[in-house]
């Protein structure tokens, strides 16, 4: 009997090859999207779980509050906190501190800036499960001036030679290579190239354990907590730890710090504090993608059901006959469900092939390294097979139950109207499909518009044509910075150049700023930017009042501040002029006069509102040189700048980037999301149209006789096309009406995350609606025109 079913199924598929292709292709694309997204979601949710003791590892984060109420939340802790915790809390087995740096690494003539250099405690390998390929994890990181590097780095600096015990020069000091470590898995919230022993820092006399260093939050600190230890007790004890050690400093400064624990496995999706090791993702995106996967699959399943029910009339005769010949309803249900499952399995096979083909592109799109290994990920593959079976059952259930309940008497009397059953359901499902499509279109249009808005909004400074050089701790350049700038300005394509401690779009320092002098006065945490006299000009900043810091006033070097309008308000002045000539104190000691108020500009991404910022001259903080250039010949300009750089800093490679690229990097996550959403929106619409195409073909076929009669009676081709398209237009319109509030609600809450956002306007909805309608009409019209052009004599004889 099974053979008989299979034969019938295959011959039916062959007979209506067009519908079969639509059905299988739609479902396969749906499954492909779904699996790709599932891989993505799986990847996102399994970050840092590869550590053997992942569930026992926590990261220390700090909340620092000023008496004025402002707070600073960091993902980092200070150096003494970790050791104090191990000492005070027996349930903490180990702590491991990490401090990320960028260093110049040299070996022979190989010389590179390395951005993934980490100072780590010798307990690093006790806490984390990163694998040491060579060397002893117990001792590799104990001695000062020891360094462990990845295999890739070993090859980069030593080629094929054995690197163990070799010397590597890092920032002019020699380090011994004591181990080779495997690269961190892609699902780690940080990655490294070099691990230097933390004890080296102590030799540098940075004195990380000095009392005052409790305030310097620059160490990511991880705790390995004993199995079964009470987290509540630990958290309770940790909160007030700083008060126990530096209570006196807290009362003097008016600042307090509280410690909190973050589970390691939560970091990737939920941690968005200052100084994250890498930008983290958002749980919301996981939900959004899961929802998209679900909806695409739903659309594909709907196609499957719609086409099957529509085509069911073709099978009515077979059902009637089989029943006459003794088939039970249950047998018929099994037969049709079986066919449906068979079809979905075919779709799965196609989907698996599509996944293999598309995975590299998807990885590029999503910036992931996802892979699908049939053996290694056997559970996933099995789940997919089970899932395909389930899709087959769900999609096939309606047709199966409808078909099997056909009564033979009615079939033979011709009372089973061709596909009449389930018309209402079918229409409802088309509405659902297009509703989802319209909502997705609105969503991707709005994401796109918001991104465009962020990238093109007037930021209050000029970000184009600015080349930024990284100075780092290059004393040679900083000490002779005036001479360096003079040389730069001699280049014909250089308009101006300015040193600063940071640049827009990158992290800024914060300091306490108060209006009165003295320690006990109320202060506020504000961003502070050390600049030189050319900064305002180079960035095209506008003054609200007063003047920019200027060479013409030699006292500016030590006694002038410029503040922005946000700082003006935060400090309690109503109008810019009120601030001029007033005294401000930075960090309780550095008192200067406000000489100017600069108009607000976006020194942070548009996710943030403009915070108060204070400018002053302070050479020792300089880390960047911004060079405004006027040229189309970038390579020649860069070469010229490199020439100047080398003259001042021989042997150190020039590091540079363009300000606009660097600034827009802040939106990279959003750009990626936007691309992914767009791709899947197009696919969703495509699948929906595939189904509509099949349904339109079916409707036209079903109305062949009606069309024939109408044509005989004088209907025009246009009239017929209109007649056939009208119904679909109604459905898509209804879908539009239902989708609009949903899309509005979801997108509005997404946009709320941005301090500067677009307003949702009706043209977006109109565009989405027209796009969906246009695509639907195009899809339907092919079939309608074909039906309308058919010879009525033929169609009437056929009936």
């Amino acid at each position: 009997m099974l053979k008989n079913y299979l034969k019938i199924a295959l011959r039916n598929l062959k007979k209506s090859a067009g519908y079969t292709v639509i059905n299988i292709l739609g479902l396969a694309i749906g499954m492909t999207c779904c699996v790709l997204i599932a891989l993505y979601v799986w990847d996102e949710t399994s970050f840092d779980r590869f550590h053997d003791k992942a569930e026992q590892i926590y990261r220390l984060r700090v909340e620092r509050y000023a008496s004025g109420g402002e707070s600073e939340l960091t993902s980092t802790a200070s150096a003494p906190m970790g050791p104090a915790i191990v000492q005070d809390f027996p349930q903490v087995e180990h702590i491991a501190r990490i401090s990320s740096r960028t260093y110049l690494v040299e070996q022979g003539d190989r010389r590179f800036y390395e951005e993934e250099f980490f100072w780590v405690d010798s307990t690093f390998f006790d806490v984390f499960s990163f694998k040491l390929v060579r060397g002893n994890p117990e001792t590799a990181l104990t001695a000062p001036f020891s360094v462990v590097l990845t295999e890739a780095m070993a090859e980069k600096y030593f080629g094929r030679a054995d690197p163990m015990g070799q010397i590597l020069t890092i920032e002019d000091r020699d380090y011994t290579i004591t181990g080779i470590v495997e690269v961190a898995p892609a699902q780690s919230h940080f990655s490294y190239d070099f691990l230097g022993s933390f004890t080296t820092l102590e030799v540098f006399a940075e004195e990380p354990s000095s009392e005052w260093n409790w305030w310097s939050l620059s160490y990511h600190t991880y705790l390995l907590v004993a199995e079964g230890a009470s987290l509540e007790t630990l958290q309770e004890g940790l909160r007030e730890l700083p008060s126990r050690y530096i209570g006196n400093q807290e009362s003097v400064s008016g600042y307090r710090q509280f410690l909190y624990l973050q589970p390691l496995t939560d970091i990737h999706l939920t941690s968005h504090y200052r100084y994250e090791l890498q930008p983290n993702s958002h749980t919301a995106y996981v939900y959004v993608f899961s929802a998209i996967a679900f909806f695409i699959l739903l659309i594909a399943c709907i196609n499957f059901m719609n086409l099957s029910t529509a085509r069911s009339a073709q099978r009515a005769q077979e059902v009637g006959l089989r029943k006459v010949l003794g088939a039970q309803k249950g047998q018929m249900i099994k037969q049709f469900l079986g066919e449906s499952v068979f079809l979905s399995m075919l779709a799965l096979v196609l989907a698996l092939m599509l996944i293999q083909v598309l995975l590299p592109s998807f990885n590029q799109l999503a910036s992931k390294e996802l892979s699908l290994h049939y053996i290694r990920q056997a559970p996933l593959v099995l789940a997919m097979v089970g899932f395909a079976g389930l899709v087959g059952l769900i999609a096939g259930s309606y047709p199966a139950f409808v078909l099997s309940s056909f009564k033979p008497v009615e079939v033979f009397k011709g009372r089973v109207q061709s596909g009449a059953s389930g018309v209402f359901l079918r229409k409802g499902l088309v509405v659902v499909q297009f509703g989802i499509s319209v909502a997705l279109i609105v969503g991707s249009l709005l994401v796109f518009e918001q991104l465009d808005f962020m990238q093109n909004k007037n930021l209050g400074f000029e970000k184009e044509q600015v080349l930024v050089l990284r100075v780092r701790n290059n004393e040679a350049v900083i000490e002779s910075y005036e001479a360096f700038k003079d040389e730069l300005k001699k280049q014909p394509s250089v308009l101006s150049a300015a040193f600063s401690s940071s640049i827009p779009g990158r992290d800024q320092f914060t300091n306490v700023i108060s209006r009165q002098q003295g320690m006990n006065e109320e202060g506020q945490t504000m961003y502070i930017l050390a600049v030189d006299y050319d900064f305002a000009e180079t960035y095209g900043l506008e003054m609200a009042t007063g003047r920019a810091l200027s060479e013409d006033y030699p006292s500016d070097d030590t006694s002038a501040f410029v503040i922005n309008e946000a700082a003006l308000k935060a400090l309690g002045w109503q109008a810019p002029d009120e601030a001029l000539g007033q005294q401000l104190t930075r960090q309780f000691s550095d008192t200067r006069e406000v000489v100017g108020v600069v108009k607000d500009f976006h020194f942070q991404s548009l996710q943030h509102s403009i915070d108060p910022i204070v400018f002053q001259i302070r050479r020792s903080w300089y880390g960047y040189v911004s060079v405004r250039i006027a040229t189309d010949d970038v390579p020649a300009t860069v070469a010229a700048i490199d020439g100047v750089w080398q003259a001042f800093s021989p042997g150190r490679p020039l590091e540079y980037f363009f300000l606009d690229d660097d600034y827009d990097r802040q939106y990279r996550a959003e750009q990626r999301i936007s691309k992914i959403v767009t791709v899947f929106t197009i696919l969703a619409l495509f699948i929906a149209c595939l189904g509509l195409f099949g349904l339109a073909a079916f409707t036209a076929e079903q109305r062949t006789k009606e069309i024939g009669v109408r044509k005989v009676l004088g209907a025009s081709v246009a009239g017929i096309v209109l007649l056939l398209s009208k119904d679909f237009v109604k459905l898509v319109s209804l879908a539009f009406v239902l989708a609009v509030p949903l899309a509005y609600f979801v997108m509005n809450s997404w946009l709320d995350d941005f301090a500067y956002r677009i307003e949702i306007s009706w043209p977006i909805f109109l565009m989405a609606g027209l796009a969906a309608l246009g695509v639907a009409l195009l899809t339907v019209s092919y079939q309608s025109v074909r039906a309308a052009l058919a010879d009525p004599v033929e169609s009437l004889r056929y009936e």
Partner: protein, 231 residues
């Protein structure tokens, strides 16, 4: 074999009530060949559907092979039909996607018959209706007459006690029609009772008894001279 008393069938739609059969009394012996005639809409097909257990009567009793089947559920009727009743339709109703052989095999599959026995029976039956040479063809590749011979083969392959034929020659030319009637007669002579709805007086001549229906009533019953072997 069949005893129907006061059979009644009423079709109801929202507004109209149509009586298709009204107070029909009918007895059919095993091995008998009965023709049912009458104008369109007189209830012939309704009667055939009820006799064939495809439909339930609205009233009256129906005894088939000693069972009171009038109140059977759809499931029970399907179970009872298997192997006991064969159908031949005016429009052949072969499954397009199955070959001649597979179409004829289908009732045996539903009976759950062993494979070797099925092959034997199907081939034997195809020989009987003289269509063996076309066993691997699909219905569309056959002439109307050939298709109806396949349909007859399918109706008799399970050796049912009753064959119901609804205008079996209605879609055939006279030569093919005659051939099919010959075939039905042979099956009848081999022991199956036949109830045939027909518009053709010539076809009706092949039977033992002709029943005339009009507006849901049996109006006349004529016994023909041809005596049936198993009376």
């Amino acid at each position: 074999m069949i005893k129907a008393d006061h059979l009644k069938k009423v079709y109801r739609t929202d507004e109209v009530e149509t009586t298709a059969l009204n107070n029909v009394n009918l007895e059919i012996e095993a091995g008998e060949f009965v023709s049912v005639m009458g104008p369109s809409g007189c209830g012939k097909s309704t009667l055939l559907n009820i006799l064939g257990l495809l439909d339930n009567p609205s009233g009256g009793t129906y005894n088939f092979l000693g069972h009171d089947v009038a109140g059977y559920s759809e499931r029970q009727r399907a179970q009872f039909r298997k192997g006991n009743i064969g159908f031949v339709f005016q429009s052949f109703n072969l499954i397009d996607e199955l070959t001649v052989y597979e179409n004829v095999e289908l009732p045996l599959l539903y009976l759950g018959m062993a494979s070797a026995e099925r092959v034997r029976r199907v081939e034997e039956t195809l020989e009987r209706v003289n269509i063996m040479h076309r066993k691997d063809h699909f219905p569309q590749q056959l002439s109307g007459g050939q298709q109806q011979r396949v349909a007859v083969a399918r109706a008799v392959v399970a050796s049912p006690k009753l064959i119901l034929a609804d205008e079996p020659t209605g879609n055939l030319d006279s030569t093919n029609g005659e051939e099919v009637m010959q075939l039905l007669t042979e099956m009848n002579e081999a022991g199956a009772a036949i109830v045939m709805v027909t518009h053709s007086p010539a076809d009706a001549e092949y039977s033992h008894r002709i029943i005339h229906l009009f507006d849901g009533h049996i109006v006349t019953e004529n016994f023909l001279e041809r005596k049936y072997a198993h009376a």
